[in-house]
């Protein structure tokens, strides 16, 4: 188990190095950072001075390892545009993105677990068909269009909810729904499949035969077992949602790190973009690592294989 955990952690770290290396070279290959910093009207001498100052004349791998070394100690450099430390710009805004992501995944779970359970209790019934309909429609609805339509209906026509900003809870309602519904189909299908399997198992029959009330069988015996993979998948989806937050935060002008990455890309502000890519990738890698280790702990056969 320990060897397996160490191996998985090593691989996870290697993945992060490769991902950040790819992004670093991608952003340095074609864009001309010196021109971005110096401005469009800069003279040749100014550009040369900027190249010297930031060390853009060094080979790209030297620049990368220099950046990575400092990134590991929490120093992501300085924003080209705002001239502020990247780490501060991110730590100011990451809370909102985390809040949005957490609310969205909770919203998805609140919809998908009851719906999936009800669908599994009566396969092919009306409610099962309704759940399938929700899943099929949910998968096809473009997130950003759904967000815009909500803005028109609840923001413009009925004036119930604010359409932009991030100051109080009402600002989070529409972004949460827009981001959360996207994860609902996958989570609901997994809940339904898991519940159907569990409800057909021997220990559920035993529990029923004992004469336990149906709700205890359902919640204490069945749901508790079926929900573990759902929670593991929800953790992975949380990582995906950070990527989805770019569009949603931009639409609702909710200034988290998704919005920050959009803003930074518009200005070719490379240090900010690189830092955010690394943060998003780390989230995904850490969450999948935890899910894998949890699975290995619960099922020791995995670590032997």
């Amino acid at each position: 188990m320990l060897i397996y955990a160490l191996k998985r952690t090593g691989v996870a770290f290697l993945i992060l190095v490769v991902v950040s290396g790819l992004t670093f070279s991608l952003s340095h290959l074609s864009a001309n950072p010196a021109l971005t910093i110096a401005g469009e009207q800069a003279s040749e001498a100014d550009i040369q001075a900027v190249i010297k100052l930031y060390g853009f004349d060094r080979p790209i791998y030297v620049q990368y390892f220099d950046w990575l070394g400092r990134a590991l100690s929490g120093d992501f450099g300085e924003s080209y545009h705002y001239k502020a430390p990247v780490i501060e710009m991110i730590s100011d805004r990451i809370g909102r993105t985390m809040l949005l992501g957490t609310l969205a995944i909770l919203f998805a779970l609140i919809i998908s677990i009851p719906l999936g359970t009800l669908a599994a209790m009566r396969p092919n019934s009306l409610i099962d068909r309704f759940a399938l309909l929700v899943a099929v429609f949910g998968q096809a609805l473009p997130t950003f269009w759904f967000a815009l339509m909500m803005m028109i209906v609840f923001g413009v026509w009925f004036r119930m909810l604010p359409v932009s900003g991030h100051t109080d809870w009402a600002h989070y309602v529409m972004p949460t729904i827009a981001l959360g519904y996207y994860a609902t189909p996958a989570l609901m299908r997994l809940t339904r499949a898991g519940m159907i399997e569990v409800l057909a198992s021997d220990y559920i029959r035993t529990a029923r035969a004992k004469g336990l009330p149906p709700y205890i069988v359902l919640f204490k015996h069945a749901l508790r077992n079926a929900i573990i993979p759902v929670v593991a998948l929800a953790a992975v989806w949380f990582g995906f949602m950070l990527g989805g937050s770019i569009v949603i935060e931009t639409i609702f002008n909710l200034k988290g790190i998704g919005w920050l990455s959009y803003d930074a890309l518009l200005r070719s502000d490379l240090p900010v973009v690189q830092a955010i890519v690394l943060i998003f990738a780390s989230f995904y890698v850490v969450l999948t690592l935890l899910a894998d280790l949890l699975n290995a702990y619960l099922d020791p056969r995995i670590s032997v294989k």
């Binding site: 997130t143 950003f144 815009l148 770019i246 890309l265």
Partner: protein
């Protein structure tokens, strides 16, 4: 003569087809046909998909026949014409007020005018381009991006997945690492960064998305190849001394094909949605190309007064993705012979 026939006993009629149907098992082709026609969502998805593809392919012919306008033709005198239903639904003041009573502060002459031109069935956009024509040509862009991305990513993913599944061991480890690395990359953010680096155009979007969306292909192909590798006839082929490429192409690949098409539909829907989102943020297809995502971007500022500008391209996107998903789900149920 007639009496003789009437008097004779009725000749025994054998309905051969009916008896054969009852005695014999239906052929695989009959079974497949039955499954296809029983699967309503598959039929609905296929119907919508074929309709959209036909419209997209025939768009230049429609334009030539003067059925639709030129999607690039601007007419500033006819900016923001209303679609046909506005005249009927929101033509009178009462229904208009009911539909958007928050806009009551706007002077009457600004919305009271019936801005409708019968030649522009779905109205016009902010520079007077015909919206129907732009939607029709937008289907071309979406479908082309979907097909090309799936082609690129399908080839990459299938090659990686089949190699990993067939050879196993170290090769498998390397491919697994590649898949995990790809999954750890935030696609949307990296795609945006790539568009910034290489310049925004439809080809960059196709290339970037094609190079990113191969993970699902690789995962599925790998697991199916692993199962197929140990099948009897594959081992027989190996024992006969067939070369490895021959075995992979002739013995393994046919097994993979049906799953390949299912994954391809999922990834095509994914690519279309990603392109729309990229274009919506301004990091994808550039103006004046009629892309549905870009049309949504251009329509955003008219959210208050012309919400249909936002509603229409999104609805098209929704129906296209819905059709592809229904088609893919149905294809899986139809081709994989198993009970639900």
């Amino acid at each position: 003569m007639t009496d003789a026939i009437q008097g004779s006993p009725k000749p025994l009629r054998l309905d051969v087809g009916k008896i054969m149907d009852e005695v014999l098992e239906p052929s695989p082709m009959q079974k497949l046909r039955k499954r296809i026609f029983k699967n309503h969502s598959f039929l609905a998805g296929a119907a919508i998909l074929i309709f959209i593809i036909l419209v997209a392919v025939l768009a230049p012919i429609f334009q030539y026949m003067d059925l639709i306008h030129d999607p690039y033709d601007q007419d500033l005198a006819k900016r923001l014409q209303n679609p046909f239903w506005h005249t009927y639904l929101w033509g009178c003041k009462e229904t208009f007020d009911l539909a958007c009573w928050s806009l009551e502060r706007i002077p009457e002459e600004q919305w009271g005018r019936a801005k409708y031109d019968p030649t522009h069935l779905l109205g016009t956009d902010k520079v007077g381009r015909d919206y129907l024509a732009r939607l029709v040509f937008g289907a071309q862009v979406s479908l082309m991006i979907g097909f090309c991305c799936v082609l690129i990513s399908g080839i990459i993913g299938t090659v990686l997945g089949v190699t990993a599944g067939y050879f196993g061991g170290r090769v498998d480890m390397v491919v697994n690492f590649l898949i995990n690395t790809r999954l750890a990359m935030p696609v949307f953010l990296v795609a945006m960064a790539a568009v910034v680096a290489f310049g925004a155009s439809i080809y960059v979007v196709i290339l970037v998305l094609g190079l990113f969306l191969w993970d699902q292909f690789a995962v599925v192909m790998r697991s199916i190849t692993m199962q197929a590798r140990d099948l009897n006839y594959v081992e027989a082929a190996r024992a006969m001394g067939c070369s490895t490429p021959y075995i992979i192409v002739r013995e393994i690949f046919p097994n993979v094909l049906s799953s390949l098409t299912v994954v391809a539909t999922v990834e095509m829907a994914n690519a279309i949605l990603l392109e729309a989102a990229l274009s919506f943020l301004g990091f994808g297809v550039q103006a004046p190309t009629p892309s549905w995502g870009l049309m949504l971007n251009e329509a955003r500022e008219y959210m208050f007064f012309s919400p249909w500008l936002l509603a229409l391209p999104g609805a098209c996107l929704f129906f296209l993705v819905l059709a592809i998903n229904l088609f893919g789900d149905g294809l899986r149920d139809v081709t994989l012979d198993r009970e639900r």
